[in-house]
Every structure is written in C-alpha cells, then in structure tokens.
Symmetry: C2
Subunit: 273 residues, 2 copies
C-alpha cells in the first residue's frame, strides 16, 4: 500500500504522539556490512533486515528515520530497499529521511521531489548553511516538512556551530518559517545549550540524535529540551543502540526490547519534568 500524501508530518507526529505517547524515533542506519548473518543471504539484505526490524518495533515507534547514506552505499539494491522500507512503514508512523540536503534552487527542488514525492518520506533533514534558499523548496508544498540542523553533538561541532553563537543565530533565524513545516535538529549536548535553544524555538519540533550508541544524557535532554507547550515537541532518536542491539538470529526481538525500554524511559522522564 502506497503511503498517503493527505496528511503532513506535523499532523502525523501529533496524532502518533496522542495515540501512543511514544516520542521514540528509530534510526534505520542499516549499513549492509553491519547486518546480522541471518539476513545476509536474502535477495535484498537491507530490505529484509528493515522489514523485520519494523515488524518488531513499530508499536514503540513514534517515527522512523532511515539515513540515505547507508542505502546509497548498497547501489540500486539499496535504493530499492529504501523505497520499499518507506512504503512498508505503517502510514500513521511518520518517516524522516535523514539526508542533510543543503542545495538551492532547482537542485534542492530536485532533491525534495525525489525524497517527498519519489520515495514517500514525510520529512527530511537539511543543512541550512546556504541560507533560506535551502528551505524554500520545502515550503512550496504545505505537506512537506524538514528538520534544519541547528546544533549537533559530534566532537567537532565546536568548529562552527558552537562558535560565536552560530547555533543560536540559526535558531532565531528559523522563526521566520512556520512551525508546521520546519523543525530543528538539536544534538544531545549540554543542558545549557538545550535550554537556550528551546527558549529560542518554542513550539518547534526538535529531532534529537545522539542518544544511545553515541552517548548523551536522556534525563538532561528530557528536562531541558521538552517544550513547555502542552505537547513536548521532541523526537528522541536512537539508531544503532536499537537496530544493532544484537546480531544473533533473534536480532529483531532484541531490537524490540531495546526500543521498548527506551520508549518507556523517555515516557517516565516526561512525567517528572
């Protein structure tokens, strides 16, 4: 069944949160050379892996986030796996394609058409370095949604994003764009950063990577990045910590367990913040 194009990411996210009280985004960083032996002989190993991961984890997922790099790295077979994966994810669970696209004009329009219309993603990630021209092709269709990089938690984020208030400048600059179409990627960094960025972007959905395999303090994130709005407006992403929790034949069962644990941990922390 093809994914419907009638509901926006914004609506799907809110409805999924209301229906499940899950804020967990599961990152499908399904690198072909990291897959368990049990799927390596399938005609399309990534697709076989993702199908079983989705079957096992979808009750606990608020969203899924495949990262384009791992699919391109497997050539046409990987591109097929990406397309099949997005189509397979239940329509009420929004899909974020993590591509960090950052081009302009008809080039960015081509990316947007490929990712939203061609693949069926509900949202993408984008890199705002070239300015508003990067965001414009997302806004041409009000069903499209993109998360702009604001602050990342990798070691060299200090080179630019954490220098001279650039992350804060991006955060303020995003206020010109509608909450219903533009979110923010905010890494699980220091509590002070999270608090300041939330103050600068009330009501905006935060996609927070860096929980799980990359470390990051979940309690601090939930305390400082949750919105004071009636909705928390966050998605906590974990990728390898869930999908590669185990490489045995029971990899999907272990992924389900890890997803459930993290979803519950997020939920418990939300009650007390």
């Amino acid at each position: 069944m093809a994914r419907s194009r009638s509901r926006s990411f914004w609506d799907k996210y809110r409805q999924r949160w209301e229906a499940t009280r899950s804020l967990l985004c599961i990152g499908l960083d399904s690198a072909v050379d990291k897959l368990p032996a049990a799927v390596q002989c399938a005609p399309n190993p990534i697709w076989e892996f993702n199908r079983r991961i989705i079957d096992a984890t979808c009750d606990d997922a608020c969203a899924y986030k495949p990262n384009l790099a791992f699919y391109l790295a497997d050539g046409n077979r990987g591109c097929d796996a990406l397309h099949q994966t997005i189509q397979y994810i239940p329509d009420d669970i929004p899909v974020i394609l993590d591509c960090k696209a950052g081009d302009i004009g008809n080039t960015m329009e081509s990316y947007a058409n490929a990712f939203f219309d061609g693949l069926g993603a509900d949202a993408i990630t984008l890199n705002p370095l070239m300015g508003a021209n990067v965001i414009e092709p997302v806004l041409t269709d009000d069903i499209r949604f993109a998360f702009a990089l604001v602050l990342t938690s990798n070691p060299t984020a200090a080179d630019f994003l954490q220098r001279d208030g650039l992350a804060e400048h991006i955060a303020g600059w995003l206020n010109q764009f509608p909450l219903e179409q533009i979110g923010a990627v905010v890494g699980a960094t220091h509590p002070g950063d999270l608090r300041r960025l939330r103050q600068l972007m009330p009501g905006r959905i935060f996609l927070i990577p860096g929980i799980g395999a990359q470390g990051g303090d979940l309690a601090a994130v939930m305390k400082h990045a949750s919105d004071r709005d009636e909705d928390p407006n966050i998605l906590i992403n974990s990728s390898r910590g869930i999908i590669f929790a185990d490489r045995s034949r029971d990899f999907a069962g272990k992924a389900k367990w890890q997803a459930h644990l993290l979803r519950e941990a997020i939920h418990d922390l939300l009650q007390i913040t």
Copy 2:
C-alpha cells in the same frame, strides 16, 4: 572501461590543465524534465543526453561535475545514468560529484564509499557545517578529494556564510587540511571576497560556480580568484549555460560551441591577469 583508481583528483586536474590549458568544469545538471525531445524516447534519457554532451564537449573540458540531485530524481534509472556517465568520462578528465554531503562518522564514510568507490568519482563537494568530522572520511584514503563549501553566490548566502566572517573562518580552518585532498567552493561573488579568500587559501583549488546561467562576472573571477602560484588553481563551472544552450536536435553541437567559447574566454583572461 572502468575508471582507474591510481591517480588522484589533484594529479588529474594538474595534468589536464597542463595538457589542455582548459580550466572549464562542465556541470552535468541533467534534469530529466529539461532534456531535449531528441533524447526523451531513449531507454535512459539522462544517460543518452550525457553521452552526447560528453562526446561533444570533452575536448574543452578540464573536469565534469554531475549534481547528484538530478540523478536521484529519476530513480534507479537516474542512478544508473550517473554510474554510466562517470564510467564513460575519459579517465584523464576528473569527475566531481556535486552532492554537498555533510554528515559524520560511519555515515559520511558510507557516502564516501558510495561516491568514490561505488560510482568512481574523483572528487565530491561537501558541506563543512558539522566541522572536521565531515572531512575525516575523505582523508582516510589519499586518493580522495573534496571541495568544501566556503562561500556561495546565491541570494541568501548572506544569512550565514557572509555574516560575521564565517566564510573567512572556514577558509582559515581549511588550512589544517592538505592542499592535495581538500579544495574550496567559492562562488562568483564580489571581487573583494574573491581576493580575500584567495589570500587566505593560497595553493588551494577553487571550484567556482555561478558563471553562466547564474550570472557572475568572469573577468573579476579570473582577476581576483586565480592563484599567484604557477598554476591558477581554479575550475570555472558552467552547467545550464552549456548543456541546455539549445533544445533542438543539434543540442550537442550548441553545447560544444558554448563550452568552447567559455573555455577560450577563461583562457584569454588568464593571459592578462
């Protein structure tokens, strides 16, 4: 014939410049909906178009630069066209895949493997917003080369790159990386910007878009961005101004003519700077 992996982009660029005295990079922004009618019925229109453009223009080209967006937008057929195009380009003409990739860790490594090893590109473009972690996977193999975005010429470059000296900061920061593996994307902007960035990055190869369809003053670019080294260390890119010069059956002949004119104009300006 597969492209050889024995020579780096740095070497291919220098040898091509010495052999042809061309500094022209031809951008293969081959959007499927913009192709002339003469190729629309081919089994793979983009590949058919590119093949004829390459046959017509390769004598005048120092490099080719396909932009990933236009190939992804045509699905698996587009990905096939990209692969065939790169393999078809004569091995002594370096290929830059314009993807503006900007991720980190094993994600960026996957992009690099896909683009360098899988597709056979000699160089890629990258977005440095997340810092040195973006560049590290390029440096793991000394045959790899990447052009980092430093300053672009699009209208909203003022949002970040032209604000508070960010472009100059990126330029200085690039000095920690070897000239033989990292170049700079520098848009055809104001003469003052070009002069300052060249002073900050002596010996580094500049990839200069924004000539042709996007406007931009070629004379100013050649005067201010050329290196004072014995080599000019620049590549002047034109995409639509060459490949879409004409949509008639003779599109390739017109592209050849435009490529030749621009190559000569660049060369003439080099003599007098």
